[in-house]
């Protein structure tokens, strides 16, 4: 399962794009297991893990440049 540290997150949502690329071979954040919820100023305020398959590739971690994601067993 993926955990997100909202304090470190910049709201870029690259994890969502990466997850989408991994799962469906293309980009759309709605296809991602991770949902970063931002306010009107793009500030991350919450996150939601919807149906993470605990894949071993951890594409989402790989594309997060802020160290905001953590894989927990």
């Amino acid at each position: 399962m993926i955990k997100v540290n909202i304090d470190l997150c910049s709201g870029c949502k690259r994890c969502m794009l990466a997850c989408s690329l991994h799962k469906v071979g293309g980009f759309n954040p709605r296809c991602s297991s991770i949902e970063i919820i931002t306010d009107i100023g793009n500030k991350p305020i919450a996150y939601n893990i919807k149906f993470c398959t605990d894949c071993k590739d951890l594409y989402c971690l790989d594309f997060c440049m802020f160290g905001a994601l953590e894989a927990c067993i």
């Binding site: 690329l21 709605r30 793009n42």
Partner: protein, 598 residues
């Protein structure tokens, strides 16, 4: 593919929409964003159209890199015929709207016609709804967006206008989240069409043509960005990092450009702004969180960016950071283009201090430099066209004609107020303001190459040729669309890094020469649009003050110097002495279809 080749063509008068296809042959010539937007505008917007009539077009466009994982490719653009310059205009904006448009299966939207009542266009993949927006009339941009998200869900992406766009203020802007398509008056164009808001939500999957190649490029690019020393500064201070740098160089404009240093610069610098920042935020998909989410005693904003600090700070004599954040938010909430609004206010202030305009003319307001409370009142009057605001909503040049004052210190080119980089000292910027097709913008021919001492500062030598290369570079960058804030990292001219990006995103194998030609073609097409509208060398000029009054460090760009640089610039592009593209230039750039328009 990372682009669809499909545009949503909306005719508001008939309340109909259709698909407008762009074939790959056009993509190969104009790339996307700026390039294809200019191509569509040139072909669909007839000569002499009134910018605020239903015949004008508003084009919202994306670039092939948007919506992919390419870092810093987060912006979308808008193009139209400008109500302020009566010529070509374009503007760029960060956030999430552009990407969402692509996730809905569209590269862009082309809007023509107009509605009778205030309308909200909602796009849900291939479905388009024309909804009533009378209930949003008069709302600020944030309130409008909150209402829309409340009704349609937090995941819809929004593009709206504020009261200024509704009142057809000539420099009204478009707002998406807390970000703006600032210059060009496209808020007024959208207002003239009676469109208060556009929302979009998409469920299409954007599949890269060559996934492995794209991912390899992205990983290498991420690394090179983070290894660059300039990125740390950008992350820490945002574009506000430039304030003290320009102050030390003596090129920080203040008091309506009477000076080029500001005694209170430290108070409103990037370093000072840090004390107000609660979060560093990124645009969608960007690895450089240069957005400074900052708070003042009564509001919050993203920024202010350098240009906001210039427009709502230095040129109006405001050195109070708290008030600057408030004014930054206020202009966006009202939907006023910030650079132009600041330029208009600064011009009024100089008129007031010189005794040319009194309180009687200004609805009782004391518009001395630095009086921010009066500025707040004036901005509201402009946005709602109340009292003196009705005249100032036309821009400073037109206001000067109506009121019969202040002609000598108008800081305008082509009827638009200039941005915050000195054309006295930065010669590439002098050419940039003079020739920019969208009015005096700092985003076509960029000032960074001189401000960062890559080439000699304050000398006109070779600046015409260098400016051509800068124009070609930004034309490409604005078409694949990645952010110009990354210029120091990715390079200040066309280079291998940009070529690799284009080839990886498009899965092409074009050469540097071909990429260069694309940039030349796009810039020349914009020129053709303005030539068709009657623009020529006489319009490629600078404000009188820049040509006649030196700055404190002794810099000035005289008419003779400008003429010399313009000759060199036109020649480098293959244009004649009047700035009109030559027939052989069009043939060389494979633009034969436009030859008959000359």
């Amino acid at each position: 593919m990372s682009w669809w080749g499909r545009y949503l063509y909306i005719n508001l008068t008939e309340k109909k929409w259709d698909e407008y296809c762009i074939p790959e042959s056009i993509v190969r010539k104009y790339l996307g964003g700026n390039g294809i937007g200019a191509y569509i505008l040139y072909n669909l917007c007839k000569r002499g159209v009134d910018p605020l009539s239903e015949e004008n077009l508003l084009i919202i466009n994306t670039g092939p890199a948007n919506g992919t994982l390419v870092p810093m490719a987060s912006k979308f653009c808008a193009l139209s015929k400008s109500p302020q310059t009566n010529g070509f205009t374009k503007g760029f904006c960060g956030g999430e709207f552009g990407q969402e448009l692509k996730f809905a299966g569209w590269d862009g939207i082309i809007i023509t016609g107009s509605c009778e009542k205030w309308t909200h266009i909602h796009i849900e993949d291939s479905k388009v709804y024309f909804l009533d927006a009378e209930y949003l009339k008069g709302f600020t941009t944030s309130l409008t967006q909150y209402k829309l998200k409340e009704r349609f869900g937090n995941d819809v992406k929004t593009l709206v206008i504020g009261p200024a766009g509704e009142s057809l203020v000539k420099y009204a802007c478009l707002i998406s989240d807390l970000r703006a398509v600032g210059s060009g008056g496209m808020g007024a164009v959208m207002g003239s069409k009676k469109v208060k808001a556009i929302t979009v939500r998409g469920s299409q999957v954007l599949k890269p043509k060559n996934r492995e190649r794209l991912v390899n490029f992205i990983k290498a690019f991420e690394k090179s960005v983070y290894e660059h020393p300039g990125v740390k500064n950008l992350i820490k201070f945002g574009t506000a990092a430039g304030v003290m740098h320009l102050q030390y160089l003596g090129v920080l404009p203040s008091y309506n450009w009477q000076k080029e240093t500001f005694e209170l610069a430290e108070n409103i610098s990037g370093e000072a702004l840090r004390s107000k920042v609660v979060k560093d935020v990124s645009c969608f998909g960007c690895i450089v969180p240069c957005g400074k989410y900052s708070v003042s005693k009564d509001t919050f904003t993203i920024g202010p960016e350098y240009e906001g600090i210039f427009a709502m700070g230095t040129i109006i004599g405001n050195g109070n950071l708290d008030e600057l954040i408030t004014l930054d938010r206020l202009t966006d909430e009202l939907g006023l283009g910030q650079i132009q609004a600041g330029g208009v206010v600064a011009w009024v202030m100089e008129c007031y201090e010189k005794g040319l305009l009194s309180k009687d003319h200004l609805d009782g307001l004391d518009l001395s430099f630095g009086n921010v409370q009066a500025v707040k009142e004036l901005l509201k009057k402009i946005a709602f066209r109340e009292g003196i605001g009705d005249i100032l909503a036309e821009g400073s040049e037109r206001a000067s004609q109506i009121l019969g004052v202040g002609k000598d210190f108008l800081m305008t080119v082509k009827g638009m107020e200039i941005a915050g980089h000195s054309p006295r000292a930065v010669k590439t910027q002098a050419i940039g303001y003079a020739v920019a097709h969208r009015g005096p913008s700092h985003c076509d021919i960029r000032p960074g190459i001189e401000e960062n001492n890559v080439i000699p500062f304050a000398s006109p030598k070779d600046k015409g040729k260098i400016s051509k290369e800068l124009a070609v570079w930004t034309s490409v960058v604005n078409s694949i669309i990645y952010c110009l804030s990354a210029e120091r990292v990715v390079g200040l001219k066309l280079n291998e890094s940009i070529l690799d990006m284009v080839n990886a995103v498009m899965d092409w194998d074009i050469s540097m020469e071909e990429l260069h030609e694309i940039g030349e073609r796009i810039y020349t097409l914009e020129r053709l649009f303005n030539v068709r509208e009657g623009f020529s060398r006489k319009d490629d000029t600078l404000p009188k003050r820049i040509k006649q009054e030196p700055s404190e460090r002794g810099c000035i760009t005289t008419q003779d110097e400008l003429d010399e640089m313009l000759d060199e610039f036109y020649e480098a592009f293959g244009w004649d002495k009047e700035g009109k593209p030559k027939k052989e230039t069009l043939v060389k750039l494979s633009m034969e279809e436009f030859v008959n328009d000359l």
